[in-house]
Symmetry: C2
Subunit: 83 residues, 2 copies
């Protein structure tokens, strides 16, 4: 599995795939999030230092959320300790 945490660019790819799966244009997604089409474009093409807020609102608009999990091979018990 790709390491999302080390390569922020992959977040852009993921967002793009999910946006298209939802049948939205960048402009439409921008409308739902209060961001510009240009900003969505930057994020999808791998904008390396976007703000957390921005990413969160985009994910929310796509009915996604993120979970923080142990990187090291996660026993189930270890996952539970986080949430």
């Amino acid at each position: 599995m790709s390491d999302l945490a080390r390569d922020p660019r992959q977040i852009g790819n993921l967002i793009r795939r999910m946006r298209k799966k939802r049948g939205l244009s960048q402009a439409q997604l921008g409308g739902k999030t209060g961001l510009r089409q240009e900003t969505i474009s930057l994020i999808e093409t791998g904008h390396p230092a976007a703000r957390l807020q921005t990413i969160l609102s985009v994910l929310a608009a796509l009915d996604l959320e993120f979970r923080i999990v142990p990187r090291s091979k996660a026993g189930a018990a270890d996952i539970e300790e986080i949430f």
Copy 2:
């Protein structure tokens, strides 16, 4: 379960809990991440618009990563379509 995606402040709480679990001070975590103690403090107290990069490096230093998952009730199949 708390909705991490809607309340960025909880990310700070999570980071703080995990940092303490690792036995690190803010300054030590700052050392590992190239961030200042003050910056770690801001993030933990709920800095609403930190940069994604910053959060990622903190998570990496704590041996955490994040995964993006469907918000709506995640069937296993639905998770798979993402990664």
